[in-house]
Subunit: 391 residues, 2 copies
Amino acid sequence: MERVFVVGVGMTKVGRFFEKHAKELFAEALWKAIEDAGGLRPQAIVVGNMTSSVLMGQDSLGALVTDYSGLRGVPAFKVEAACGSGGAAIYTAFALVKSGVVDVVAAGGVEKLTEANVEVVTRALAQAADADFEVFYGATFTGLNAMLARLYKSLFGYTDEDLSYWPLKMHEYASYNPYAQLPRRTTLKEILESPLVADPIRLFHAAPIGDGAAVIILVRGEERARQVARALGRDVLVELAGVAMSTDSVDLSSRNDLLTMESTIRASREALKMAGVELKQVDYVELHDAFHVTAYASLEDLGFAPKGMAAKLYKEGRFQKGDRPEVNFSGGLKARGHPVGATGVYQAAEAVMQIRGDFPGYKASDPEVALTHNIGGISTIAAVSVFKRVR
Amino acid sequence: MERVFVVGVGMTKVGRFFEKHAKELFAEALWKAIEDAGGLRPQAIVVGNMTSSVLMGQDSLGALVTDYSGLRGVPAFKVEAACGSGGAAIYTAFALVKSGVVDVVAAGGVEKLTEANVEVVTRALAQAADADFEVFYGATFTGLNAMLARLYKSLFGYTDEDLSYWPLKMHEYASYNPYAQLPRRTTLKEILESPLVADPIRLFHAAPIGDGAAVIILVRGEERARQVARALGRDVLVELAGVAMSTDSVDLSSRNDLLTMESTIRASREALKMAGVELKQVDYVELHDAFHVTAYASLEDLGFAPKGMAAKLYKEGRFQKGDRPEVNFSGGLKARGHPVGATGVYQAAEAVMQIRGDFPGYKASDPEVALTHNIGGISTIAAVSVFKRVR
């Protein structure tokens, strides 16, 4: 069966765009991706999004953004897996093009969060948790993650300062990223003095609310990918070599272990297997750091650190420039930003550009294999993709 | 590339289930489908749904219903294409299994509408229309369709009675269907004296609000399908031979022709082409009759009647027992019911059972080729599937 390649990527800056509708953000990212693919237009569009139904009062989002982008008629629909919707869009798009249903497909994501007030957004994002068994009792999404952060600290003996090296680095990386929502450096002092959101999570420990859209264009077959690359003078092809998803309970109370994201473990294993890649061959990672504790748990469950050790290793300088893997040089959800249903596609676009060598921010050390990790809820749904350089 | 077969189907009755959560409805349909597939469990689950975000306050629906069904860990996510979500789930599931991402996949749909009051449901369903250019101005979904019905009547010279033969027959068919929400016969008098919802659409011209879930199980490869059939003593295989989707504008005002559903025309043509079937070979159809006018426009845009003629032909007895194609013997959205995101999957389950000869309601005349037509909005998104008997 023919392989799948990423031939174009496009992103908007992440930010507060009061003046732009979600369809305008999506069209911008889509046409950047089409241009980056030498003009190749998708025959189907999969749109990752979480909150359009609640915050925009709009369903049929797939058709809406497709029509606005000037591609009326092209098959399109929305996939929803909470904050993992972008990863689910990539998984779906991979299957559509690999199966031959279409030859060229766009996997995209878009989210528009900043028009609503903070209470409304907080409620909308809490819908990633269990409506009947968590949200009904007043749990917010930050509140649930704060419980995990508290457990992580107490089980493994960390201080708030120990856990703050992640956001410190993310802000540094984001300062180089023209697409980042928070492109500025910070200090441990600023992080530790920022307002408490849900003890022990402070404002600077959490990803911000933001708007944005990202799109990648996939094609089937090395020959087609090579044609595009040749026309653009690119000497590197990027294969989407493995995709996988897995699920867990929505409510945390029925998990085996609160700090083990079993769906992340399974999805990562499956995606690497499909790609024919071993974990130690992964050069670059973009992972889902919605909160500092999520970053550390992800490093551990992806297999890059023993349980409870990720924060210690990160503080000591692991996963940074020159290490293997290098992680989240985009600035991550923390500082590139987290336009929910688009985040997984941002990660993919960033991984592809790092492999091609044309990421316009903090550069990885010439990676050949990259892995992206996008989750919905607290890894209620996990989507992992593996990208490979092909010369 | 190997072909795709439907090896199991499962449905709940459509109705008002105050006592059941959407996850309970889904689990019931899923396990019926698994049992119907001789115990074969899916390796991925695609869940069509429109309103969970708004009416249940619940995202991550795919994981929620998968966990509740006892299949925690299995990849799952929601696809949303308004009332066409079920068709989009089938399209997605087809690609997942055809591509080899998984070997066995469940395409399902579930909707829970009856817990909310009628105003809330009306608003939720209006989200299939354009939030900014239609709903903002007070348009309901029935209101928009009423304008089309008025246009259809005036352009082609029909009376309300002329258009009422569709619901009349749908109620008759549904009276045989154990899964139908409205399994009782009606009369032209009752239809024409039923309350006006949006002039000229009366209560009995419109699909009801209902809860329900349906699931079909797809496998890749004739050999695997044959193994399942052999173990169950079934002599008929049903191939899912063609799938296609297309889109149109969300707002009606920017269409070329209000009564031509271009996305239906395109999706139908593409699905038949993929299946290698000509329109005249189609023996059986389940089409999307959200309103009487939708039924007639669908018959026309699918190519079974000239523009403006479907209501006349239907009144004269076409598309009924012994004709080709036979249409909507389930009772259709009108009387089987329309649990929005599940409807496209009900249609598929019904088409498969008609081909197998075990549909427990009004039986088609031994069809070999069946087509299902599911739309979101007013064919803003169209999904068409073609099923074929294989001996």
